[in-house]
Structures are given as structure tokens and as C-alpha cells.
């Protein structure tokens, strides 16, 4: 490393993590795709922006989990927090006829604060515009899909769609930032939680966190 730059021109955001598991009650097999979406002032310096996971089967226990443990690792540099990176995940799986059908779209911002975070992303799919369409789309295995999975990371045009949720996935992030404070962006929580207080009164911490 070049040492600490007192006047950095960019700040860095590094996020590792995993797409750990998913809960989709009605399906047997799933795989997922992920892609990071970011604004104009962001650039990927290392890591994969997009990826596709293996197909996983539901666990045969009462948890009924789909486990991928699919690693995420990406490093950004940026000059502007506007357009903070988002993780867009879309899940696919074969339906009864063996057609690859989308099972859910979901997005979440990469956590802003450094540290370990775990996110549950509810996943949704666009609904057919009519009953008949629903039937035919089921029959033909061509469910309605978003034109671009990335629309779930944007607000525009969502008003015309109707969606339904099917399940959720769990993603963990480990976030490291660099130079953000130097550039005037303080994202760490103001007061570190006192550990004495947490130990003696577990209930209190629970209420604070919830």
C-alpha cells in the first residue's frame, strides 16, 4: 500500500460475502444470478460484478433450505456515494416441465456501514397481467420476466408492474470502507454499543437492536 493519503481522491468500498441460502417453499431446485449495480461515479476495481451460481436442491430436513454459499467479492472505488452499489439477485429454477423459470428478483444495497451484515432479501416475480395469461404462461413455461433484472434496483417504471413474492434469500456481507471519513462521509454508527450494558441486560440490547 502506498500508505495513508491525507487527501484521497476516491474512497473505496470492499464487500465480501455470500449468498448463503434461500427459502422458497414451493420449489425443488434453484440457482441464482447476481449482479452489482452501481451509479456513474463508481468503478469496480476488483472482483466479479456478475455471477451465476450452481443449482441447489432443497434440504431434506424441516428447514427446507436451498443452500448455495455462493461467494461475493467486489471492490469499488468511488467519488460520490450517489449510486451506492446494489446487489441484484434473481433466482431461477426448472418448473414441472423442465423449463427454466424465474423464481424471484430481489435487490439490496450493499450495507453502508463497515462490518458484518446479514440481509434477508425478499424475492418477487412479476405477475401475469390476466388469468388467461397466467395459465398460458404456466403451460408454456414462459412466465413473465422483467425485461432486465436490473429494473429491481431502480424505481422507474415499477408502477406498471404487479409482483408477488415467492420466498427470500439470505445474503451476508462483510464490508470494509476506506477513506470515506476523510471525504466527509461518516457512516459508522455514532456511539459504539457498550458491552457492559449488553452483558448484564440482554433484553435491553435486544430492544435496541430491534
Amino acid at each position: 500500500m502506498a500508505g495513508l493519503n491525507p487527501n484521497p481522491a476516491v474512497f473505496m468500498l470492499m464487500s465480501t460475502g455470500q449468498i448463503e441460502s434461500a427459502v422458497f417453499p414451493d420449489f425443488e431446485e434453484l440457482y441464482c444470478k447476481f449482479s452489482f449495480i452501481h451509479g456513474q461515479d463508481w468503478a469496480v476495481t476488483a472482483g466479479l460484478e456478475e455471477g451465476i451460481s450452481q443449482i441447489t436442491r432443497k434440504s431434506r430436513d424441516e428447514r427446507q433450505l436451498f443452500v448455495w454459499n455462493f461467494p461475493l467479492d467486489i471492490t469499488y472505488k468511488s467519488t460520490n456515494p450517489f449510486g451506492w452499489p446494489q446487489l441484484v439477485v434473481s433466482c431461477y429454477g426448472p418448473d414441472a416441465f423442465g423449463q427454466d423459470v424465474v423464481r424471484g428478483y430481489g435487490a439490496t444495497h450493499v450495507p453502508i456501514a463497515p462490518g458484518k451484515h446479514s440481509r434477508i432479501i425478499p424475492m418477487f416475480v412479476p405477475e401475469s397481467s390476466s388469468k388467461l395469461q397466467k395459465f398460458t404462461s404456466w403451460f408454456l413455461g414462459r412466465r413473465p420476466e422483467f425485461v432486465d433484472p436490473k429494473v429491481v434496483a431502480q424505481g422507474e417504471g415499477r408502477d406498471v408492474t404487479r409482483v408477488r413474492t415467492q420466498g427470500h434469500i439470505k445474503v451476508t456481507f462483510n464490508v470494509v470502507t476506506r477513506d470515506m471519513k476523510k471525504m466527509g462521509y461518516d457512516v459508522t454508527p455514532g456511539e459504539p454499543l457498550g458491552f457492559d450494558a449488553t452483558q448484564s441486560q440482554p433484553g435491553a440490547v435486544a430492544t435496541m437492536l430491534s
Binding site: 487527501n7 461515479d41 467519488t79 412479476p126 398460458t136 422483467f146 429494473v151 406498471v160 471525504m183
Partner: protein, 1721 residues
Amino acid sequence: MDSTSDTLQKKLQERRKAMNITMQTTDSTALDVTTINNDDSDGDADIPTIGDEETASTSRLIEKLESRHDATRKRLQTSEMLRPQSDVRLPTSRLQESPRSITPAMSPGQSQELSRPQSDLESTFNSTFGTRSAGMSLRDRLQAKLQAAKQKREFSQMGEERKRTQRLKERLRDSSTRFDVDPLRTLSRPDLEKERELETRVLAKLQWKKVLQKARKQIGQPSDIDCYDFFTKQFEEVTVQPEVESPDVATTEEHAEQVAEEEIEQAPVVEDQPETAADAQDEQPTEEVEETDDEKKKLLSEIIPEELDWKLFNIMSAEYISYRIRLETEQQISFVPSILNAPSEKKVLDNAAPMYLEEEGFYVGLMPEVQIRNRNILENRILSQEKQDDKAWFGLDGRVKILPSPVQIHPNKPWVSGLDDIDPSIETIYVKAYQTSVDEKYLQGSQEHELQVDLGTAVFHHHPLMSREHVLASSISEMYDAYIRHRHKNYAVFYYEKLRSLRLALKTMKRNASAADGEDIAILGGQELRIQDYLTEIRRTCRQRDLAEAYERDLMRKIVAEWKEIKALRTAQGFNNSGIKLTVKKQEVNQESDRQAWMQEIDVQIQECQEEFNYTVQYPYRKLLTEYQSNLQDWKKTRIKLKRQQKSESSADLGMTEEESLIVGPNPKPLKPLPPAKFDENAVREQLINQALQHRRNPGEPKISLEVTHTGPITPNVQLPAGEATRRIAVQNSRLVARVKFNGRDVCTSEEKSLTSDFRVHFGQIFKILISQWPDSVRIQIYELGRLSDTILDEINLAIPDGSVNTANVQLFPVDFSNDKVVIYRNHEGVGSSTPFTLRSDSNVPVSLKTCGQLYVSIAWSLDADGRVLAPKLMNPRGNDAFDAAGRPHHASQIGAQQSDGLAQYNLQDPDLMALWSQEGKLDPNDPANLGMVTYTSAKEGFTSAMDYFRLDQLQQQFNFVTDEEMGQARRLRLLEYRATGISEFRNLSMVPANEHEILDSAFTAYERHKREKDALGEMGERKVAAGSLSAHRLEVLRFRQKVRDSVMRRFYTARHYHTLQDMVHEDQVPDIGTLGLKIIKIAEPRRPLKPVRSERKKATTQNLTEGSVSVLITVVRAYNLPIRDKTPVPGLEGSLSRAVLGTTNLHQQSQDEREPFKLSPFVSVSFQNNVKATNIAEGPNPSWNEEIELPFSATNNDYTPENLQTIDDTLFINIFDRVVRDANVDTRDRDDVGESSGVATGVVSHRVQNHWLGSLKIPFTTIYQQGKIEGTFKLNVPQVMLGYTPDRAESKADAGAHQNSSANDPYAQMESQFLQPTDGSYIGIFVTLEPQLGRPEPVPQKFETQEDERLISESLKFEEECKKKFPKRRIKTTVIDIKGESVFITRYVKPIAPPPELLEGTSQNSLVCAEKLARYVSLIPFVSDNVIYAGKCDLWSTCDQFLNMLCGDEEEHAILLLNFFLHIGKQAYLVLGRAIPEGETAYVLTLEQSQEYFLWNASNGHHYKATDFLCPLQNVFALVNQDNIWFNMQVHDIPARVNFNTNQGWKPLFKSISATQGLTSVQPEVIVYPETELSYVQNLEEMIERTLKEAMMDWRPRHVTRWNRSCSTALHQILRSLEIDRWKLGGADDRQTQSRTTLLQDDHAERLTRLIGDARFVGFPMDMPFTDIDAVVKAVRSTEVHKIQDNDIEFALGVYIHPYPSSVLCVWVYVAAINASRSF
């Protein structure tokens, strides 16, 4: 030793005997106990354990004793195990004193024995709590527990013993003694009894506890245990004491409890105090019971009832505190606020008197009703707290503030909570907007609205016909009016009353002040000020009173004087002209009392003056004085100090004096204030008396009142002198009439009325005006009727009354009128008007009066029979001045009698005056009635806005931490803002630097330059016109274009952000039978079909594109019919050229050129975005290259989104050149010789390569982008005249002509002719595409507002659907978007429009030439794709006038204009919608010529083709449009050559019958005005272009000298002029001749050039193009590459000619030539 042992033995024996007896008794009790203990179960477990335990200890003793008491041991039986135990007890206690010989006796075996009881103990312990607990009585359990605890303790001690034997002994002793005591003491009979009793009590108590607990549980209170736990439990010990062997208890809580309890129990046990142990038992059971609650339930319920009363309570005597004492104690702790009114002085600020705002005339709103006693209580409560800030609770009036002050500085709007239930009065209602044109003036609805104008009397204050007496009389009556008014208002009394009340108030105040005076002077401050205020007020009132009285007296004096004048006049002239009469009434007064009152008044005033003096002068003086004194004291002190210092130090140091002076310096001796002048009472008195005498009624003077009547006799006419008589006749003849004008139109005229002798006119008429328009003005004109014409006296404006003014409540009011006209009478006594005359007999000063008077009039709305006001509904708030609406009614209502005058003086419309008035009038700022006024005036005073509106961001300003300017200067923010708004320069910027300093100002320069240009355009850049690059019209054009563009952009902004489901979600359409069928067929499809269908290339997504990854692919296939080098050289000029060519070709292309010596070697050069690539050189006029050229493409800003790509306006140039290779060593020697000799001699032949431009083709990038690919044969843009080249092969052309003419029968010839027919130009076959294919833009959803009939719209949609279904590839549109963004039927655009008349001159309208001329004109209007203008938003159709205004448009605009021109000249013409190359979807014009041939016109370049021409760029015909209908092509083929254009066959019309379209009026204008183009501007432009081009040429040739041939340039200019002008002259009407026209031109051209230039080598050609800007011209010239000719002795000639067409349509001709003026030829 023996003896002692013997005695001991004896003693023991005795003892044992005795013990045996006692033991029996104790045994029985012990048995008793055991029986009690072992009620139900294993009692033997209990006893043996104890026994064992005892044996353990006994056996040790026995061992010791054994040696001496063998006999005794033998007697011991196992059954009597208990006996020895008790036997040895005493001896053991004695043994303790014996030497510690026991210790060694402890053997391992014994320790084993010791360990056994431990396990036994455990089992006991466990069983006590575990198994046995179920059936045990409480006591058992307690005992067991106690025992267990003891045992445990013992056990733990024993554990210790193992280590420390020393302590074991002690413990043993302890335990033994305890065991001694315990069973005996606790289980003794009386004890048992006691215990039983205790037990029952405990049980009872428990029962209660349980009930209580239950109750508590229900309430949620903590139980006893909880409480107990809370205080006693030590949580950490739960974990600390793991070794305590806890029995199987249910919960840890219980366990913890037990531990605690055991500890408590243990403590006394250890101390060996059985009493306390018992006590502990007494006290503790409450806690113990908890664990057995459930089991106890039944038992307790049985026991309790009868024993409850006495076991639970201690009965004591009732405690009684006497009422008195109780009261006393209560009073000590409680406070009862008084219900009496608290003294007000406590409530207001210290020593201030309560102030009552309403008494001082301020508005005080209604307070909510609160009972007085409640209020008093509250007040007293607050007062009792005695804090400093308690006063804040009280208002100025000493009452507690019940409401927060409703007075707010800023008006605000209350928040409306809950949007669902909005008060209907503030609900917004949607009202459809209506057009504000002429209709607006008319009132809405059909009700009758009626205004009534009541004309009363007109009174002339001056009239030219007045005699002098009249003038005087009128002035008297005027003054008298004022006098009466003044009296009526009774100012004297008013002021007198006011004065009295003021004085009264002052007196009370002074009384208060004097009361306070004794206490503290400082308090006086506030009081003092108020008294001062009062005094000044009194003085002012005095003065006003004096003035009022003086005014009255003055008036009276004047009236009397005038009256005297009249009397004098009357006597002088000997007759009475007016009936005016003055009566003076005197009212005598009591002189004495009057004088007294007068003097008293004076005295009072003097006193007041003095007081005021005191307050204003004395007090400040006194203050100054005290200040001075204190200052003086200080000064003296410092002085003394200094002196002392000086004395002490003077001897020491001389320098100190300086210091002293320094110290003294800033502390000079204070100046004594000058005492003010003494109050001079006499002087004041004198002044006051004088004033009073002057202004007021003097004492003893009678009160005078005047009365003027008009009842005096007027001398009859007979007795008058002639002058007066004629005047009177004139007066009688004078007639007046009033006319009422409404909105500037005469509506009513009054009857003619004559002037009365006292110069009044009684109109007495009421006019009712029934109105249907908004009343703007109502005027009354007063006319004086003359013999010949009426003269207008004046025009009076009447204000339009608001809706509340009706005939019932209106009164006549006077309106002044006047007239400045000069009237002089010579023949009679009339004084005239505006002319000087002497009025008074005594003075010579002439007076001049103008005609003036008052008209009594009223205007009001009529009432109908029901009493309804016939005013329009929206009469009131017509003005947009909100202030008017809000402010006026209120203040009008609250204006007092006295103020109305003041108000009337001001013009109410003037806000400044209004503010002034409200300030002077001292409006009560608290009165809600004045809200509008106060807000308004306060806004005037300080606030930035009037704020009669609601602001959403009213706090914005406060939260702006920097100003907007500073914000604007922040470069980073600017950059971000620009990017967010999508300004093209910044749109795709990424990684905007984080720090301000990293952004350079240069980042904005390009943008700012553009912006400046735009701004300059907006503000009519004068300089630019001067510079000559833009004419006024052109400027107008640019501005219009910009405006349209801006508005379109704005309109489509929303459309762009409008998404449909299809934009967001891919969803398969519900398949119908057809698609299902297709799907099924697809399954059966062959895997590898014999005739594969071309599948679409994959489109690249924009994200993956980077610079350099996209390129334009151009495949140049071949060219046809290129012009060839001249075979027959023109002597002189061309000869040299052709010879040269001949020579070179001879040299290098020997074999080829043997046969075709004059053909050419063309190659194609393609340029795009500053990249140029060329093909190889081919040969002949029909070359074939088949080469692929790849040119890189880079998008601006690296933005490959469709939005950006659409706006790229780069153009692909395809140029064909002829490469002429020439020997370089051109010199004085003969060329051929040199060439050979040099070749022989040196082996080096230098050549000069020259590229001669033959033609070009331009393809805009947008076309390529939108089409995806462009493929076909295109006509080359070839210069009209190319010297050295013939446009086509003369012989083939001649052949073609011959074939056409002669051999119609010869099939071969026909075929030949067909093949050779399109020889009218040069063609090139190319294929252009992008690699990779870029995604095409999504079309903007074409849903727009429309004003079309919905029925028609739906019909047209249906039509489009049907057409699409039938021919999905044929696009049809029936409606298009106009520049307002509304859908309009295309047919509306079609309408005959007259072309500029200049174009029709000289040609017959039917001729093709005329049509060509029109087409040329239209094609000269620059072509700009809509995509470029409107950033790819959509395809807009502008009307012809808009098109001409913008001077740019794409295919549709050109086509529509041309079509309209054609229709005007009577051609049968249609608009053709179709697809052409290279434009893609386009519009052509179809005409039916006289020869019954169909012609297709490309309006944007002016070319026309026969419909049968297979090289016509129009490839598909979709629809035809004319002004009546739209026809869709239903024929199988849509290639123009195969389409039948007869609309009756194979066309599907949109409107079935023509009548349906009758209603569709055209959107086109009736007439288009074509403004003349300014010639001066054109000349300027010509010069400028020439200059720019010359400079550019020199720039392009940096390494060579560029010489200009002037004479040639002028010649070229002339040639160019003739080229454009003669273009139409040469050709005849016959289209056949057009073909030969070019040849003719060529010949003519060459001839001229020869004539002009003479013998020189010459390369060059003229180009023509529509003028857009100079840059375009420069680009075009550059693409010809003339400048690349590098001969040393080359000279250039440049001719620029601009042909002005009407409406600033300019055709630029540029002739660039390179001349080799070598003398060698």
C-alpha cells in the same frame, strides 16, 4: 493414676445407674418422638442413622473406655444401642478436658466409618426432601429440614476434620452438645405444645398469605417472595455455592431461597442457641411454605374458618386524632389556593399598573369562558410558587394568559389533517379550463345582469355664463358647505371631549406615579414615558382643537367678507342676480363664567406645559446631574490616589509624572451638565393666551353661527341692463345632455336639460343597462349642446360597483368634473371660463376660473322583483390584486367618521399610499378585521414578500446554509447537477471528482460556449448580423427552431419516463390458433433446411460497448455509369489535360488503355469521423471493387445508449475519385522524351498522382443506425459539370436514344434499351452496416393527446390494425404528431399551397420544368433528421409554414411541401409512404404526369424517377395520402415498378366515403408568405464563405504555397451564376430534352472557361448545396480533395455564388478549380 481411675470408674457406674432410670423416661419420650416422626414410612431409616452416627462417635469413646470397663461392654446389647450413647454423653463432655490422647486413636478404619455416615446422611437428606415430603406434615418437614441442615453442616465440618484433626475435636464436642440439647429441648412436651400452636398460627397466616398472593397475582403486584427476593436475594451466590447439595427441587428460585433460608437457620445453630433456633423456626416458615403451596391447599381450607379471627389480628384500640389536630397538620402540609381574586399588582411586572388593551383601543379577541373562581385559583396557585418568571404567566392586564397570543407576524396556513374529510369549503374542485379568447368578455350564463345609473343633478361651481355675483355666490355656497360640514362633524365638541378624557387619564396615572414615587424613582421609568406620551397627546389634541376652531372662524370670516362683497356688488349693479342670503345668528354667553372657563383652560394648559417641561427637560437633566456627581466622585478618588502615589514616588522617579499624566489622561474631570433654562411661566402664559385669542372664541364673545339661504329675491328680467339680460337669455338657452357609455359604447342619452339660473341641471333620470359583457368601464359624458355641434364638457368615470351595491342601498354621490376650455363672452356679462376677469370691485387683480362642478350620480346593480341583485356572480374579485380583495372591504367597514375623509383623499389603488394611510391611521394590528392591511403594510415595511399566498417551503431560506450563487459556484455540484439534468456534454460523465479542486474550470468551457450561443440567439445577437453570418430572417429561423426544440423536449420528457408493462415485463402473448399452429409446425421443422432463412444478428447490449469495439462496415460492390475522361479534347485547355492523361495512361496501363484509352481508373474513398479509407483502383466507367472497408466508430461521451446514438449527426461520405497518374518532372523539355530518357537514364520515374473527384454519396449515421443495414444501388451526387469528363458514354447514350426511337419492334434492342435506360446518372452499389449491430431505440409510446374526433381515431386505429394484420411489414400511420405534440390525421397536412411566385414565372405550370423548379426549391431547404433535432424523441410533422420558418426538416416536411405546391399547380399528386434506401421509412411524392406516367419525387433532394424505374430508391410503397383519404396498399407487391397506383384497385381506403373527411380541415395555413431574402446579406455571406474557404484551403496545404488566380475566380463566379439561372432556361418543356440539357451545359461551360482562362491545365468542378452553415460548405469542399493537388506552380480559383430563393432559402454554389498555368503548353 489408678486411684483416680478407680474413683472415676465408680463415679461412672453410679452415674450409669442413675441414668438408667432417667433413660427410661427419656426413652419413652424419645420413642414418642420417633413415633411422631415415623408416622407413615421408614422411621427405622431415621433411627438407625442417628444410631449409626452416634455409634461412630460412641465407639471411639468406648474404645477408650473398653480397657477399663470390660464388664460394662459385655452388657451392652445391639438392641440397646441408644443406651450407651446416652450413657457416654456426660463422660465425653468430661473427656474433653482430658489430654488429647484421642487423636492418635483415630485410625484409618475409623475414618472409613466416618465416611459411611456421610452417605447415610445423604440418603436421609434426600429422602427428607424428596420422597417423604409428599405425605409429611409441615412440622415433620420443618424438623426434617432443620435436621438436614444441621447434618449437612456437620457433614461439611467432618469433611474438614479429615484435614485438620485439631478442629474435629472441637466440632465433635459441638455436635455432641447440640445433639444433646436438640432432641431434649425442642421435643420436650411443653415445647411440642407450643410448637403445635405455632404451627396452626403459621398455617392460618399462610392461608391469608396465599389469598393475598392470589390477589396480587391478579393485580400484577409482586408477590412476597418477589419482594423478599428483591431485597435479600443475592444473585451471584447462586452460582458461587455449587457444593451445596441441593435436593431435587423444582426450580432454582426455590433452591436459592432454600439456601438463603438455611443460612439464616444455620447461624443460630452454630451459636448453639436453641431459643434463637426456635425463633428462627417461628419466623421463617412463611418462606418455606411456598414450595408446598399446592399440597397445602386442601388442608388449609379445612382448618381456617373457625380459627381465623383470633389468629391473624392483633386487636388494638382505634387510633384517634382529633379533628382540630388533623386540620392543623393538614394545613401544615397542604395549600388551598384562594378563590378570591389575586391582587393585580402581584401579577404584573414589578410596580407596573395593569394595562388594559381594549381600553387603549386595541382589539382583543374573545377569551374562552372560564369560571372566575377557577381562574382565580389558577392565578393564586401560580403566584404562590413565587418564582421570578412567574410573571410570564400573566398578560399585561394582570390576568392569566388563557390563550396563546393569536397575533402572528407571518400568516400561515393551518395544516389540514386527514385528507379524506376535507372541509367542503376548502376542497379543490376541478374546473375545466376554457379558452380565454373573445368569449371571455361575455358573462357566463344566461342570467340578466342589470346596472342602474342614476343621474341626479349637475351643479356648476363655475360656469362661463355666471355673472360676477354668481361667482361670489357660488364661492359663498362652497364655503358654506365646508362650514356646514365642519360644524356637522362638531370638531369642537369632539376635541373637547377627547381632551377631557385624556386629562382624566393623566390624572389617575399621576396619582399612581406619585404613590410609587416615594418608593423608588427608578420605577418611574416606564410610567414617566407614558405620562410623557399622554402629555404630548394632550398637546396635540389642543392644537387640533385650536385649529378646528380657527378653521371654523376663518370660514365664517371669509363667508361674511364674501357676503359683504356680494352686497356691495348688488348695490353697485343695481340688481340681484342670485337668491343668496346670509343670516348671522348670535348666541350671547355669560361673560363672567365664560371668561373664567377660558382662564381656567389657559391655566390648565400652562400646567401641562410645565409638566411636559419637567418630563422632557428636567428629568433628563436630573439624571445627568446624578451621573455627573458619581463621576465626579470617582474622579476625585482617583485623583487623590494619584496624588498619594505621586507624593510617595516623586522623590524616587521623575518619570512618574509622565505616567501620572498618562493615568490622568483617560480619566478627565467630568463636565458638569448645563442646567436647562428655567420654565418661564409668564412667557408661556402669554404665548398661550395669544394663541387662544387668535384661534379661539374670545371670552365673552357671542357664539356665532351662519346660515346661507337661496331664498332672496332675484331681480326680474325687465329691470335689467342689456348685458345682464342677454346673459340670462344665454343661460336659459344653454342646454346640457348626459350620455352614459358602457365599455366605451354609448348606451343611453339623457333628455336635454337647460341650465337653471343658479347653474344647476336636474337630470333626474335613471338608466338601466342590461349587460352581457363584463363591465370594464362606465362613463358619463356631459355635453353642452351647441347650435352646430355639441361640445363635451367632461367625461366622468364611474367605478364598477361590486356585487353588494344595489339600488336599494346606494346613494347619490358627487363626482367632480371640470373643463379647461377657454370661453370668453363679449356680448354679455358672463365672466367666461379660464379667462381672467376682475371679480371684486376693490381689487384689480384679475381672477381666472375654469368651468367646474359636481354631478350627483349613483351606480348600482338592479334588483329584480324578488329583490335579487342582478349582478354577475364573480363580480367581486375581478382584480388579480389579492390585496384589493382581502384588504378593502375590511378597512372600509372599520373606517371611522373622522378617518373616512383621510381615506378618501388617497387613491386606494396605490399600495404605497395605502400603506401610508394605514400607518397614519394607526390601525389596530391585533384586529383580525385588519389582517389583510396589516400583513400588507408589514410586508411593505420589511418582509420580502406580501405573502398573501401559501408557501410550501417557507422555511427554505432559513435552511439555506449557503446562497444560491455560492452553490452555483461549487464546481462539483454544478457538474453533478448538469449530469442529472442530462445536458449532453455531461450526460455520460463518470467518476465525477470528489474534491472541488480536481475539477477545472475548463470542464465547463464547451458547455458555456454553447449556452452563450443559445442565449445570444435568444436575445437577438446584433453583432452576428453585422458579422454577416446570419440574416434577420435566418436568426428568426434559428430562434424558432430552438423554441420548438425546447418545447418538444419538455413535452417528451414525461413521455420518456412513462413506462408500460411491456417496457418492464416480458410476457408472452396469449397464443391464438395461428401461433399455436406455427409452434407445432416448428417442431416438425427440418433441422437443416435447404433454404435457410437469414436469422437476425445478435444485438450487442450497450453496456458491453467500449470505444473502438464498434465499427462501420462498408462493402463497396460496384459503380455504374461513371463519367469518363473526355475523348475529344477541347482545343487548348482540355487538350493539354487529355494529352497529359493520355501520356500517363500510355505509360502505365499500356495494354488496357490501348483499347479503352479514355476510360478512367476510379477508386472509392470512404470517410467517417475523420477517418478515411480507400479501395483499390478499378478500371472503367463500370468498375467493380467488391471490397469491404471498416471504419471505427466512436460515440460521443462514450455513450452507446440508443438515446445518444440517435443524436449523432455524423455523416458517412462515399467519394469516387479518378486517379490520374502524371509524370512529375514536367518541365520545359518535352514530356514524353523526358519520361523515357529519365526512365532510361536514372531508372527513376517520379509521378504525380492526382485524384479527380467524380461524385459522392452521403449517408447520415442515424440512417445506418436505424436501418441496421443499408444495401442497394444509389445514385451518386455528381457535379453538374466536370471538365475533362463526360457524364456518360456518349455512344451508349446515343444508342439508347436510337433504340428507343427507332427499334420498338426489335426485342434485342428493347432489352438493350431497357438495360441502358438509367443512364441519367452514376450509381454505386454498396452495403453498409454496423458491427456489432447496435440495439435500436425503443419507439416512444405513441400515445398523445388529440383533438380529433374520437370516433375517427378509433376507426383509424382499427384500420391500422387490419392493415398490420394483413401485411405486417407494411407500416401505416394515419395520424402523426404535430409540433404541439398532438396527434393529427395526415390528411390535414395536405392542402394546395401557392409556391413563391418567382418559381412559377416564365414556365407553364404544367411543364415538368416547373415541377422540377419547385422540387429544386424544396430540396434546397436543408435536411435535418427529426431524430437529430429532437434527440430521437419522435418523428414530428410540422406544417409548411413551420417548416419554412425552421428552414429544416426531414423527408415528410419536404414531401408535404412539394406535394402542396404540386397540388396548387394543378397536378394530381399523392404523398407516398414507403420505405426507401437509404432513408428507411420515408415519404415521397407521387404525381401523375400528362403522359399518364407516374413520377416519384424525392423531395429532399429534388430528384424524380419514373415509377417504372427500377433504380428508384423507393423500394416499398405502403400507402398513399391526399387531402381526402389514406389508402393502404393491398397489392401483393409493393415495389413501385409493380404497383398499380390507381387508388380504385388494390388499395384500402381509410375513409369509406369521402364525406367522412369533410370535417377535417387542414392544419396548413391559407397562404404562406415568402419574405424576400436580403440581398445584402447574401452578398455578405458570399464573401464570407469565400474568405473562409480560402483560409481553409491554405490551412489544408500547410507545406505548399497556395496561390489564387483572381481572374479565374471572377470567371468562375459568373459561370456559377449562369449555372443556376440558366438551368431552367435551356431546358424546354419536353422532358426528352432534359436529358440532353446536361450535355448542353457542359459544352457551354467549357466554352466559357476557355474564353476566360485561355490555355491552362484545369481541374475543378462546381458543387451546389443547400445552405445550412459555413462549416458544411467547408466540409463539402474538403471532401473533394482538390487541395491535395501538389504541383508547385498550381494556382487555385474559387468561385462562390449564392442564389437567393424566397424565404431565405439559399443555394450555395462553390466552384473550386486548380489551374496549372504552366507556360510549357
